[in-house]
Structure formats: structure tokens, C-alpha cells
Amino acid sequence: MEAFGHLMHGFAVALQPVNLAYVFVGCLLGTVIGVLPGIGPAAAIALLLPITYGIEPTSALIMLAGIYYGAMYGGSTTSILINTPGESSSVMTALDGYQMARNGRAGAALAISAIASFIAGTVSVVLLSLLAVPLAGVALKFGPAEYFTLMLFAMTAIAALTGPSLSKGLLSMFLGLMFATIGIDLQSGQQRYTFDLPELQDGIGFIVVVVGLFAIAEVFCGLEDHLKGKSEIIRISGRLWLTRDEWRRSVMPIVRGTGIGFFKGVLPGAGATIATILSYSVERMVSREPQRFGTGMIEGVAGPEAANNASTGGAMVPLLTLGIPGSGSTAVLLAAFIMYGLQPGPLLFEKRPDLVWGLIASMYLGNVVLLVLNLPLVGVFVRLLYIPIGLLLPMVISISAIGIFAVNGNLFELYLALGFGVIGYGFRKLAIPVAPLVLSLVLGGMMEQAFRQAMTISGADVGVFVRSPICVVLLAASVIALSIPLVVPLFKRSALIAAARPAQ
């Protein structure tokens, strides 16, 4: 009942005309930017952050949440139409969505994507509303040692589960932590790794890194593909709406995808990506025609799309209640919170209930706005894809420059972003995941503070990290997350050997 009362108060905030307008504008801009090839939610939020400057924090965050939702949906559009997922969580949608488009069912694929996203997004926000208060209560019991182990778990999970190899995931994570240590040490006031450059005293700006790694690197990759003639555009053809049979086949995948998506989203790590893979695997497993997956099965779009959007609601649970982002996109949202002088976590629920519950209520509205916006405007958004790459991507660099320069008016940060763009391009070529670097850069400072506070309180006794049950559980979870990429190939090999034996 307590949550219901808070939620009603949240609706009173979110339904104010100005906030309603920001929800609408956020969803619209998020979709428009998310539709652009290769621009995922994290880059979309980072690029559009300057637009929120000068807006009151509650309204600004409501708009950013709308951008997040919109960009998630926009990314699915590019997956379906040009086989270019904005981020890894849209990859599964591309498998059957793109084939549907090639079969002339692009309209149906986009429609089921919007409907599945709406249902899953709404259900996940209902669950978020129910879980937020109890989880925030638990979070109040967290001390520095618990926070350190929680952040360790979030980082190791994302490092272990996002990339093709554990070592590359960990490399990305440690590089992020390394960049996080640049600047003045808060505890001792000592300058670290600044090379006497005053621009580095405050550390490396998060927006600089995100814009470089996501947006500028994407421009490099996109222009490279364009040069090699790899970017292919499918024109929409056929009936735009779903047939009765497609409706019938989509219902259960949406239900299953929603459940999988929300619970995977709550866990730190590659929540949305793993959720979409799981959902796709489940749909293929329960299907009577598993061999047809990958040829344009609507179940292969409905399930992963529901899982993808349900996980966005799920990912907001640890972000809002613990202040711990579970993905690259929520890490950018955390940075936005910090930029507005707000620290998400249990205390935010007490200090700024209007903001937290206004934001949660705006997500309900965001889902409705997205559905209303996307179904009739599918054809319009798709026109954005027809903008020649050679015109579009150079503009992304200019938008990036505006986004970075607008924060501090600092030219040095533009060069840094360019450097991170080159690093991001290298990461993609070497198959090193970017998300662990982003997450550890955001959490690195807090993690170091929690570590040093815990050690100081305990008199430099490392045992402080195994004394509380919460710490033990989180450390065990970290070990399990790290061992998954090592153990799964062994199981796969055993299964292959077992399968080969009868044939011999």
C-alpha cells in the first residue's frame, strides 16, 4: 500500500503538463536518435544530455528516461530494417526481424516490436514499483564493505558475461578502473596521473568517455562499412499490420520474454543481452518448428523484444534502490543523476520521493507514449534510415562535439573524446567489450572510497570483506559470475564428445 501511495504522488508529478511534454519529447528524440544506425541507448543519452541542461532535475531525468526507452525501441528498428543492432541486446531481434523484413513483413516485425515493448515495459515498471521500497530498505543496511562487494559483483558480472573472452572483459574492466583513478584523490588530496595538466585534476569526464567510445567509434565503424559497401538498406514493403496468426503466435513469447527480461534485468551484468538470448533460446526450444528460427519467425522477434524492454524496468531497480547500474546505458543514467547533484540509492527515496516516484510514474507514461508514437509513425521513422551514411555520420561527430563542449566549454575534453573514439574503434576490432570499461569508470571512484573506508574502519583488516553475510553472498556471486565463462565451454565440450560417441 505504501508503494501505491508513493506511486500516486509520482503520477501527480509526472502528469504535470511540463513533465508530460518532457516524456513525449524524450521518447520522440530517443526513438529518432536510436533509429540512427549504430547509435545505442547509452550513446543516445550521452548525445542528448546537453538538451536537458537548464531544466529542473526531475523533469530532466524524466526526459532522459524517455530518451532511454525511445532509444531502446529505436535500436530494434535498425535491427529489423538494416540488420544493425544499436547495442548487443538488440542482436537477437535482428536474427528473425531482419529476415521478416526481407520477406516483406517489416511492418509486422516493427509493430510486434512496439507492442511487445509496451506490454513488457509496463509490466516491468509495475514490478519496479512493487520492489523499489523493500529493496531500498535492504540497501540501508549496506556499509562500505557491502557496497564494495556489491560493486565488485556488478563489475565482474558484466566483465564476465559481455565479451567473447573472460580476459578481454576483465581487461576492459581494469582499464575503466585505471581511468577512474585519474585526478585528485578525494581522501588524501593527492594528484594522481594528471601529468601536471589542470584539465585532468577533476578526472576524466564520463560523458567524454561515453561519447568517444560509443558515438565517435561508431562513426569510424559506420564509415568503414560504408567505404567497404557493407551497409545495406531494406525498403519497407507489404502490409504494415499483424495478421491474426501472427498475433496468436506472439502472445506467449511476450509473456515469457517479460518474465525472463525483468528478472535478468534486476541482476547486474549483461542483463538485457542475456535476457534476449535466453528468451530466443526458450522460444526456439518450445516451438514446433525450431528449424525455422532465423528465417523470419515472429516468435523470435516478440520474445526477445519483450525481454529487452522488461529488462530496462528491471535494470532501474538496482540503479534507483542501490545506486548501482547494471548496464552501460544505466551507467550513463547514473552519470546524469550525479551531474544533477543526485546520488541514487535508498536515501534518495527518503530525500527526494517526488523525483524518484515521478520518474517511475513517467515510465508508465513513457510506455504509452512510445506505443502511441511508434505504431502510426513507423513509416516516418524508417525514412531516417534513408539518409545517406556519408551525410549522417559526419553530423554525429558535430553533435558529439556540441555535447562535450556544452558541459565545461573545454577543448581538451574534445581531444580526449577523439582519443577514446580511436580506443573504442580498436576495442571493436579486437572484440573487447566496452560496457565493463564504462561501468567501472562510473563506479571506480565510489568503489575505491568504499574499499578505503572499509579498510580504515577495520584497521586495515581484509577480513572485513567476509564478515557480513551480504558480503559473503556477493563475493560468492562474483566468483560464480567469473567461473561461468570458464565452466560453460567445458560443458559444451563434454556434450559434443557425448554426442559424437554413438556415431562412432
Binding site: Y53, Y98, T162, K168, L170, S188, Y193, S398, A406
Partner: protein, 184 residues
């Protein structure tokens, strides 16, 4: 993207069935290993060179970076192990090398270097010349390379975007952008 891509999501460099990993993949992995060890060593050297304040903090500003550099060395060790196992696998297999899908090629490298240089120049004049003029020149230059056959469209898009963005950000959203040589 085919169904077989499911097996190696999100984006592995695993060879296709029926092929072994090409040798240049090992050189790339070796290069990454060396780079990791160099970064870890450099970071550790800088960490050890940090002065330790006499007061305030019993652990000092070095402790956490030392753990991070330890983690980087651990990554290097894991990469070394993976490289060693890959070398053995290549030596033992009779399969042919996978067709060259090398990610880095000279044309791409030159393209990235060119864009980086042109963008750095754009940033260099960004404040001196101003947002509008520098953006028009930057965009027109890049568009002329990647959308070569349409100079009029390129000029119109570069000019329209620069003025449109300036109006939106400076006039509507009150974001500060350098005016440079222009009076407004």
C-alpha cells in the same frame, strides 16, 4: 546474421566450423598481450612514484591503483595462457586456416587516421573560428569524401546543419557554443 551466430554471441573471433584460427589472429592476440603488459607496467611505475602523504589517510592513494595494476597483470597472464592454448590448437589441427577476415587492413587504418586527423583539426579551430564556420568546413570536407557525387547536397546539408544546430542549442536551449569570427 545466421542461426549459427547464436553459438558465439556477442561477437567472437572464433573460426567458422571446418576451419582453424588463422595465424594472424595469434599475432593480434600477441600484440594485445604486449600492450596489456606495457600498460600494467607503466601504471604500476606511476603508482609507485606517487608521493605518500604523511597524514590523513592510513592506506594512502597508492593502495587501490596497486590492486588495479595487479588486475591488469592478471589479465596479461590470462591472455598469455589463451595464446599458448591457441598456438597448440593450431599446431595440432589439420584443418585449413579460416579465410582472411582480418579486422585491420591498411585502407581502414588510413581512413580512421584521416578522419581522426581531420576531426582533430576541427577541434583545433572549433573555438578560434567558431562553431558555425568550423562545422560547415568540417562537415563539407568529410561529406565530400563519403558522399562524393553530390557536392550541392553536401554543401546544403553542412550549412543547414551548422546553422540549425546553432539555433537550437544557442538560441533555444541557451547552450554556450563558440561564436569565433562571426559577430553572433
Amino acid at each position: 546474421m545466421s542461426e549459427s551466430d547464436l553459438a558465439d554471441l556477442p561477437a567472437t573471433r572464433a573460426p567458422q566450423p571446418g576451419f582453424r584460427q588463422p595465424r594472424h589472429a595469434l599475432w593480434t592476440a600477441g600484440g594485445l598481450l604486449l600492450a596489456t603488459l606495457a600498460i600494467a607496467s607503466g601504471y604500476l611505475y606511476l603508482t609507485l612514484a606517487l608521493p605518500t602523504p604523511a597524514v590523513a589517510d592510513p592506506l594512502g592513494p597508492q593502495i587501490f591503483p596497486m590492486l588495479v595494476s595487479g588486475g591488469l597483470f592478471l589479465c596479461g597472464a590470462m591472455m598469455g595462457l589463451e595464446l599458448w592454448r591457441s598456438r597448440i590448437a593450431i599446431r595440432r589441427t589439420a584443418l585449413p586456416a579460416a579465410p582472411s577476415e582480418t579486422s585491420f587492413d591498411l585502407r581502414s587504418a588510413l581512413m580512421v587516421a584521416g578522419i581522426t586527423g581531420w576531426t582533430a583539426l576541427y577541434f583545433f579551430v572549433f573555438e578560434r573560428v567558431g562553431f558555425v564556420v568550423s562545422t560547415i568546413v568540417f562537415l563539407f570536407g568529410l561529406m565530400s569524401v563519403f558522399n562524393a557525387r553530390h557536392p550541392v547536397v553536401n554543401a546544403a546539408c553542412a550549412t543547414g546543419f551548422a546553422f540549425g544546430a546553432w539555433l537550437l542549442f544557442v538560441k533555444v536551449l541557451s547552450v554556450r557554443l563558440p561564436s569565433g569570427i562571426l559577430p553572433f
